[in-house]
């Protein structure tokens, strides 16, 4: 089944409806996408700012710019992994390209991240970081995070239907990932050993570093690194989509 204007219309409707429903009955609504990491920032700042935050300008903002993308990644991939089951009637009884369900879930979380990054932008200003042209790179980094979440979600959503244990395994992995991502420590804290190499293999590390370069340092990120991340995550998203399409004829049976 090919994509056309009707697929785009469906993607739009699914994204908007999922986004509306997510925080519909809550008092703070979409603000939770920012408030949630903010509460965690308070806790981490209290315990770590003397040791791990030493020598870091605006450690609170440093934490925020690590936690917001990490929390978004964790929430988005966890929800998108389950989306074929959450929207079971659509998976089982409607005829359209099913990857649209995963893409719409990912997009609805990208809206959250964009709003949360708007707040981070405001926070950076309060911390004294001056607005600059480098911040025009923000949409590109948001796109990289979208592609990263997309390829992980496409793979997880298929794997989850085939074996439901994946959800528990992935939740455990996310807890480990918090420590494998420089959210509350700096790269220099890791030294030059194996730990540093492991952390640099984590694609989320690079996205977070880009957000910090733009919003914390107010600097333009290296163009080559940005292109590299767009290409790698784009290729991985393409590969994950092919895998998803190969599994698609079996999805309705496994739901």
């Amino acid at each position: 089944m090919s994509y056309d204007a009707r697929s785009l219309n469906l993607l739009r409707e699914l994204t908007v409806s999922q986004h509306k429903l997510k925080d519909q009955s809550t008092f703070f609504g979409f603000l939770w996408s920012f408030l949630n990491p903010l509460i965690m920032v308070g806790v981490l700042f209290l315990f770590f700012h003397h040791r791990l935050g030493e020598g870091v300008d605006h450690y609170g903002l440093y934490l925020l710019l690590g936690l917001v993308p990490y929390t978004n990644f964790a929430n988005a991939t966890s929800r998108s992994m389950r989306v074929l089951l959450t929207l079971k009637p659509l998976t089982k009884e409607a005829v359209f390209p099913k990857e649209l369900l995963v893409v719409s879930s990912t997009l609805s979380h990208s809206i959250d991240l964009t709003i949360a990054m708007g707040f981070c932008f405001g926070a950076a200003y309060l911390f004294g970081v001056k607005p600059s042209f480098s911040q025009l790179y923000l949409p590109v980094v948001l796109a990289v995070q979208f592609l990263l979440i997309l390829w992980v979600s496409l793979i997880l959503s298929c794997a989850f239907l085939v074996a439901r244990d994946i959800e528990h395994i992935y939740q455990a992995f996310l807890r480990v990932l918090l420590f494998l991502t420089p959210v509350f420590y700096t790269s220099s804290f890791l030294g030059v050993g194996l730990a540093r190499q492991v952390v640099w293999l984590n694609p989320l590390t690079h996205v977070i570093e880009l957000f910090r370069t733009i919003l914390l340092d107010g600097a333009v990120p290296p163009g080559a690194r940005v292109i590299e991340l767009v290409v790698i995550n784009g290729l991985l998203a393409g590969g994950a989509l092919r895998l998803f399409k190969a599994c698609e004829p079996r999805l309705a049976e496994y739901v």
Partner: protein, 262 residues
Amino acid sequence: MLVVRGLVKEFAAGGHRPTVYRLVRSLLDGGKTSGARMRALDGIDLDVRTGELVGVVGENGAGKTTLLKTIAGLYAPTQGSVEVGGEVALLAGLGVGMIEELSVAENIYLYGAVCRLRRRTIKDRFDTIVQWAELEGCVDDELRTLSSGMRSRLAFGVAMQITSDVILMDEAFNAGDGRFQDRCEEFLRETKGMERTVLVATHNLEFVSSFCNRTLWLHRGRQKAFGPTEVVLPEYRTFVSRRVELTGSEVDQLPGSLRGVQ
């Protein structure tokens, strides 16, 4: 146009949820422990021409829904082939994907998108849909405040706008009151004149008798008969009326005389 050849569809029997353990065990022993299989469809052959309206009848568990979902591409055939000339729409349960917490207007756009309609089409026909569903005063109300009859009307009002070449209906118009069903039938009468192929799985034999050119009779996944409605339907009615008197293997033997009907 729709051509089905030697269609077989099997599912894992017992409905055990897959786990990592079962998956690994199955991979290690080459699928020997992947469990028993249940054959839901067994050797279905169909040739349906453009413009035909075909009724699919059979008892519960006969394979009607499985057949429609396999033709729609939701299930991959275990054996055999399905060839569809054009785009397929499946109406298996009206209002699939509609959301209780969203308004009637939002659900029209959402369900319209699920039915593969363009946004422009939905916008242009919005008032017609609302009028057909008789929901003029409730456009901003949440869907959950509507009765099941009102929801059925709303969903059918949207589904009527579908322009697909092949439409598969699974008990789509059994909801609602008599008036709603009359209006659905009116729509199907109009559809019959269009260049569309329609398959309707139903227990409503009066509907099949009135609208369907040909009828497919399924029994326990097998094709008992496929032919002109005036030939197949009386045999099926006989089967249903005698069904209460017969059990087990006798039931399997009953319609054997119809196997050759095409």
